[in-house]
């Protein structure tokens, strides 16, 4: 099959993923529930993944897609750790709102 990007153009992909990435960022900035913050971060990562795939097709080169697997795996590991921390926090203070995490300051 011919390169689909010739019809659509890489820029659109870039814009799409940038938009997705920004959505993720804003999610992180404005949501107070830790879980949702995690999800926003996931959105950021996936935006990047999308772009990776797009670029790899654009360059006709598989490395990009391989890299996506790396990033997915890493993301998974990260989230695992994150959730673990979250659980212990929930055990200690019974809430998962990051607004409660203001004891360390000054």
């Amino acid at each position: 099959m011919g390169n689909i990007l010739n019809q659509i153009g890489i820029e659109n992909y870039i814009f799409l993923s940038v938009v997705l990435f920004c959505i993720g960022i804003f999610g992180v900035l404005y949501r107070r529930n830790a879980i949702i913050v995690f999800m926003s971060i996931e959105i950021m990562l996936n935006a990047v993944n999308l772009l990776f795939v797009a670029f790899s097709t654009y360059h006709q080169d598989a490395q990009g897609q391989v890299f996506v697997f790396f990033s997915m795996a890493v993301a998974a590991a990260e989230v695992a750790v994150g959730l673990a921390i979250l659980v212990s926090i929930f055990r200690n203070i019974g809430s998962i709102s990051i607004d409660n995490l203001k004891n360390l300051k000054g």
Binding site: L29, R32, I98, D99, L101, K102, N103, L104, K105, G106
Partner: protein
Amino acid sequence: MDTNLALILVLTPLLGFLVNVFFGKSLGKTASGAIGTVAVAISFVVSLLLFNQITSTGKGIQVTLFDWIQISNLKINLGFLLDQLSVLWLLFVTGIGSLIHLYSISYMHDDENMHKFFAYLNLFVFFMITLVIGSNLLVLFIGWEGVGLCSYLLIGFWHKNQDYNDAAKKAFIMNRIGDLGLLIGMFIIGSMFSTLDYATLKTAITGATNLNLPLLSLAALCLFIGACGKSAQIPLYTWLPDAMAGPTPVSALIHAATMVTAGIFMVTRLNFVFDLAHDVQNVIAIIGAITSLVAATIGLVQTDIKKVLAYSTVSQLGLMFLALGFGAYEVAVFHVITHAFFKACLFLGSGSVIHGLHGEQDMRNMGGLRKAMPITFWTMLISSLAISGVPFFSGFFSKDEILLTAFHHSIPLYVVGSVASIMTAFYMFRLMFLTFFKEFRGTEEQKHHLHESGSLITIPLIILAILATFGGLISLPGNSWLNHYLAPLFTKVAGEEHHLGTTEYTLMGVAVLGGLLGILIAYIKYFKQDNFPESDENITGLSKVLYNKYYVDEVYDAVFVQPINSLSKFFRDYIETGLSALVFGLGKVTNEIAFQGKRLQSGSIGLYLFVFVLGMCAIISYIFLAQ
């Protein structure tokens, strides 16, 4: 040979000082006194030898020990110059010095620190000799400040009394003001002729063409300020009367006979400098005249016997400077010598009186001591006649010379000088009458102990009285041995011999009459109608002003001392604290910023991430803008 002689001359008093300092207490009073006296006596003998040598050869001896201070363009060595002038000075310094040492043995016998007293006296003689025989100005300066130190130590000898200590401090500091002048003068001369050595300086100046006269005059003026400090001339004279706090022998030796004449010595030494600075000479003459008058007026009403003598010393010194101002150095020197004799005698006499009355110094509580202490009376009478210029006593010749010179140069100053000497005659005899005539006004208890002082005290008195009588012979008008002797020192022909014409005789007559007039007034006022000075509170009018010395001390205090002290307070309390506050302030500011910064670190993840993103956007947009 000469070197050794000079060294003996200088070092024996120093040796005496060291011995008395380290072993004095263990030696016991008489021994330490004897050591002190002998030490000075030896120097006296040496000076006699030197005198003999000088008179025979007629040229000075230069002794150089070693390099002292090196400065790029002038090299100052530690050396001595023994010529007519210095030897002359040596003679009466060591001579009168040893007499006064002798006197002190008895006078200070009741003081527990007698050995210290003699140590200081010896140290003084040491420094005085250094001052006199130094071969350059800086060696003179060693002695100059050294004698100042000794006078500080001796004025404050009874150190438990803070008033005495104040007097001592005052003396030292006022001298220091003069010394600064002297130093500056040295600097100027040094930079002009790149030498401070008398001999080289003399050749340099006499040989020099196109001298920078204004600068030289400035130097001369500075030197004269130094002389003012040391020789208690206006405006730096106030320390001398206070210096009477010291034991009386000290007043006799330091504050009458020797140290205070250092100024005259220095000016005479540097006559070749002053001869070229005529304006300065006029200044000297005027200041001398004024000083002599002012001091004399104050002397009229003082009631403390030593204060009277002190002010008379100041006024006599003023007369000497009057002579110096007219370039009549030999005349000044002549008066220095005669003055040394009779003033020392007077002081020692007053000392003997005070000794007899166990420390009483106020003349209002004396009187009628003639019978009790005859020797003291007669010696003091002779000296008073001498100082009053009664004919054929030494003072008559010297003072007359001065007045003659003054007359030849400037009539007004001559008048001033004559008035001063009339006053001198008056207050001297006022002193005599109040002290020795009438009946005793002291307490009964004192009356019982009235007695003539011991021989150790009277012998010096007698010797000095003799000297005071015949001292004038060294420079008789007409043929003056002194003038011939000193002639080599002076560039211009030694002061024109007053061949005795009618003017001279009339002037002499006037002077004599003046003196007698003064004595007469005193006689009427204090002997015929027996009124004697009131107690302090009901002194009034002009005499109150005089009694309080024209309030000069108060003025100085208000104008100089107080401002400096308050300035010091101001600096200490405001400037200092302000400066350090400034430094601490920097720290405080940063701390304050830190404190505000802590607010930003609020602990909220949202904020942190927000700033994160903000920073990121800032950077990226900056890059886009830069493109």
